[in-house]
């Protein structure tokens, strides 16, 4: 079962090479490899559920010398979400890209992005994380630059420069860790590391690099233009998966590897930045003129919720309350992934069919594109955190943990954030249901609307009603 770890990286990489060698059959090859990788992700999830954390030493060398791939509950769930979101977006892309040469350039980069995501989520070695972060950054920038407008190229260039700065800071932190402990393997580090003059600066540098890449509040300026000007399936994956991979790394470093080097003040700082991101992101989303900008700022806000969990997790002693909070964090991350991907795909349909995505002129969209508007509504439910959605469970645990630790201010921020989220969602839906003088026939684009609908439904209903296995899986692999 541990072989699934290798196949999850090797298959998309092989897919990238195959789509590059056979440009005419790129779509078919990409979808086939995607299905294979999806089954590998399912096998991994099953393996972690039954046997607990999986471990694979590449080349057979011991962890310190060689590189180890590891998967516990958290990374298995994120790998599965990545597989589902990328598969849905791949089906969407097969209809979205018009002509052959654009499609031939898209698929290899798309599979390389998937390789980078899986390699990052499964890696157990710090320098290997640097290489995967670079692979993720470069493929994301190359995909974002597929947009034909000047704004897309300018946003992609700024995204690349910020990404390179983030990677360099991360590498500086890794070199300090190697100076102090002589090993790069995260498992051995977790046992050896103790708070001290080497770990704090190293963790601060690595975190600064990762916060740049995950666009937490003060460092989020590059995200809205990059995500708003990229093609729709690329924006979906950028918002739902790429920024979340960087968040996953911060979580892995702070909660798992360097857990006892983390101070309450540092965790509180992340919480405050998260709270600021929630308020600022939601406010800018409310005032956004275009749907894509709204979705991009909503990403900045939703990531803020995830960072608000850090002070709570630091305050909660290990026990059932903490496991519930960790489960809440994971399910909130998963729900945002599905919902944001569905939202961006739906916005792509609107943009392609009506030539623009300005919110002001959305009148009659509900009549013309009923399924797409329904998908946006489902995604909205999940972004707000209304009951049937997974986000409701996540925010509930956030509130419960705030009560348990007595840090009440996170409750206020969550309430305001959810209110603002409701405001910007209903603003869009209200405009979409506005009547036009002469209603035109509804248009359905099956291959583009089904993925958006399924992702929205997964976020709004499936994760809410069938959320229990997430907690069980996290405990099984704790």
């Amino acid at each position: 079962m541990a072989d699934a770890l290798v196949w999850l990286v090797a298959l998309p990489l092989a897919g990238a090479l195959a789509t590059l060698l056979l440009p005419r059959a790129a779509t078919a090859v990409a979808l086939a490899t995607g299905l294979a990788t999806g089954t590998a992700a399912a096998a991994l999830l099953y393996g972690v559920a039954t046997q607990g954390p999986l471990h694979y030493a590449i080349g057979g060398w011991t962890a310190g010398l060689g590189i180890a791939l590891r998967a516990d509950g958290l990374s298995a769930l994120l790998v599965t979400m990545t597989a589902l979101v990328v598969l849905a977006a791949s089906v969407y892309s097969s209809a979205y890209f018009g002509d052959g040469s654009q499609r031939a350039r898209f698929w290899p980069l798309w599979m390389l992005l998937w390789t980078a995501l899986n390699a990052l989520l499964l890696s157990g070695d710090l320098f290997n994380l640097y290489v995967t972060l670079e692979l993720l950054g470069l493929s994301a920038v190359a995909l974002a630059a597929l947009g034909t407008t000047t704004a897309a190229v300018q946003a992609a260039l700024r995204y690349l420069l910020v990404g390179l700065l983030g990677s360099m800071l991360f590498l500086a932190g890794v070199s300090l860790i190697y100076t102090g402990y002589g090993t790069l393997d995260m498992a051995t580090l977790a046992a050896v590391v103790e708070p001290g003059p080497v770990v704090w600066p190293a963790l601060a540098l690595m975190t600064a690099g990762l916060l740049l890449k995950t666009a937490l509040f003060p460092l989020h300026f590059w995200l809205p233009p990059a995500h708003a000007s990229a093609p729709a399936p690329v924006s979906a994956v950028l918002s739902a998966l790429v920024v979340k991979a960087a968040f996953y790394l911060v979580l892995r470093l702070w909660v798992d590897v360097f857990a006892d080097a983390v101070t309450a003040a540092a965790a509180a700082l992340l919480g405050v930045l998260g709270a600021a991101a929630v308020l600022w992101g939601s406010w800018r989303a409310l005032r956004a003129a275009r749907l894509k900008l709204l979705a991009a700022y909503s990403t900045v806000a939703q990531l803020g919720y995830l960072f608000m969990f850090f002070p709570l997790l630091h305050a909660l002693p290990p026990g059932p309350a903490r496991d519930l909070a960790v489960g809440g964090l994971v399910i909130l991350a998963l729900t945002h992934g599905f919902a944001k991907a569905g939202l961006f795909l739906a916005i792509g349909v609107i943009q392609q069919r009506s030539g623009h995505d300005t919110i002001g002129e959305l009148d009659g969209t509900a009549q013309r594109l009923p399924a797409t508007t329904f998908a946006i509504a489902l995604a909205g439910v999940a972004l707000i955190g209304l009951p049937p959605s997974g986000a409701f469970l996540g925010k509930w645990q956030l509130l419960a943990a705030s009560f348990a630790t007595g840090q009440w201010w996170w409750i206020v921020v969550t309430a305001i954030g959810s209110l603002l989220a409701a405001a910007y969602t209903f603003r869009v839906l209200g405009r979409a249901f506005g009547h036009r003088p002469y209603p035109n026939q509804p248009v359905t684009v099956a291959r583009e609307e089904w993925p958006a609908l399924l992702l929205g439904a997964a976020a709004a209903v499936l994760l809410g009603l069938a959320g229990a296995p997430v907690w069980k899986l996290l405990e099984a692999s704790a």
């Binding site: 694979y56 018009g98 040469s101 654009q102 390789t115 002589g182």
Partner: protein, 358 residues
């Protein structure tokens, strides 16, 4: 006596490194900055030699100073002579000059603080004795790694997965460059002196590349340095105005671009199917497998670095399916990336669209 002279040499070397770095970054003129950066790269290669890292010195000279320098010079030569494309820096650019100097001071202090923290943590870290564990592990396993050069052993055996992903990074960069537009126009035919130099230098560079690849198993060298030298041969030919610089055309160009990652992945997966761990070469076969992978990696690294130097899709060599003139459908719907017509700025020599035979 010996340590004093060594200290003086170290001092001079470090002063020149810092001053070159500062000079390269302080000038307003982009051309001067790039040339100073290349000098910085070469002096840094000296520093690697002094710190007994010959492999890294070769790579720094060939790739860090050489190819990065060539890429930057090609980019600078296309730029209108004004001081670079002036854009607000990454941090929001406040309007009035007062706040702008305040921001400059704040960032300078922030960087100085970062240097202080980094240096202080480094000194603390250097005290700890735990640093030799990996070096001893490498020495212990060197015998079964298939090569005797420890750096090549780490790169292509112990941490082969890193090198596989790194070749994927190189491939991603080239695919990104291809998605952005056409290659630059070729250069004008070189005069007799440079043409004869290129005619003589290219074969020698190819020979050196083969030598570096072979020697990498037991002495400093290896696929990266060899690939960079091979790329240097092709770039010299291109600068001499040749239109055919050794790149294959059509399907075989795609094959060579993909060869490095493909062979690496193939070897890894075949071993996996034979029951061994992924990329776990059997000791008896390790040397041969590493040589096969390094040869493919050399070809791929050379091809990708040359394609990166071209700056875009070589129209004649890289054929893509789809409509010849890509008609852009609805607005933001990603019509084909309008092939960027050649920028008006003259390159080194005003290259005509179709290269004259020289």
């Amino acid at each position: 006596m010996n340590t004093i002279t060594l200290l003086v040499f170290d001092g001079l070397l470090l002063i020149s490194i810092v001053s070159l770095a500062w000079a390269a970054l302080a000038t307003r003129d982009a051309r001067r900055s790039v040339i100073l950066f290349m000098a910085f790269g070469l002096v840094l290669a000296l520093a690697w030699g002094r710190l007994l890292a010959p492999d890294v010195a070769l790579a720094e000279a060939a790739i860090g100073a050489g190819l990065s320098g060539a890429l930057l010079l090609a980019a600078v030569s296309e730029q209108p002579h004004a001081a670079g494309v002036v854009r607000p820096s990454i941090s929001q650019n406040p309007g009035r000059a007062g706040t702008r100097t305040a921001v400059r001071w704040a960032i300078t202090l922030l960087c100085a603080g970062l240097a202080g923290i980094l240096g202080w943590a480094l000194l603390q870290g250097l005290d700890s004795s735990a640093r030799d564990t990996l070096a001893q592990a490498v020495a212990a396993n060197l015998a079964i790694s298939g090569v005797s050069n420890p750096v090549t052993a780490v790169l292509l055996n112990f941490r082969a997965y890193d090198t596989l992903l790194e070749l994927a990074v190189l491939l991603t960069a080239v695919l990104g460059i291809f998605a952005l537009g056409q290659a630059r126009p070729g250069y004008q035919c070189a005069g007799p002196v440079f043409d004869s130099l290129a005619r003589w230098l290219a074969p020698v560079l190819v020979l050196i590349a083969g030598y570096l690849l072979w020697v990498g198993a037991h002495a400093p060298g290896g696929a990266f340095q060899a690939g960079a030298t091979l790329a240097a041969a092709a770039i010299v030919l291109r600068l001499a105005g040749r239109s055919h610089i050794g790149l294959p055309a059509g399907g075989s160009l795609r094959l060579v671009t993909v060869a490095g990652v493909a062979v690496f992945l193939l070897v890894g997966l075949v071993l996996l199917l034979l029951g061994r761990p992924f990329l776990g070469y059997p000791p008896a076969w390790a040397g041969a497998l590493i040589l096969v992978i390094e040869t493919a990696a050399m070809l791929t690294i050379a091809t990708t670095l040359v394609l990166a130097f071209l700056g875009g899709r070589p129209q004649a060599l890289w054929r893509e399916p789809g409509v010849r003139r890509d008609a852009p459908p609805a607005s933001d719907a990603p019509g084909a990336a309008a092939p960027a017509n050649e920028s008006a700025a003259p390159s080194l020599a005003a290259g005509t669209q179709e290269q004259t035979r020289c």
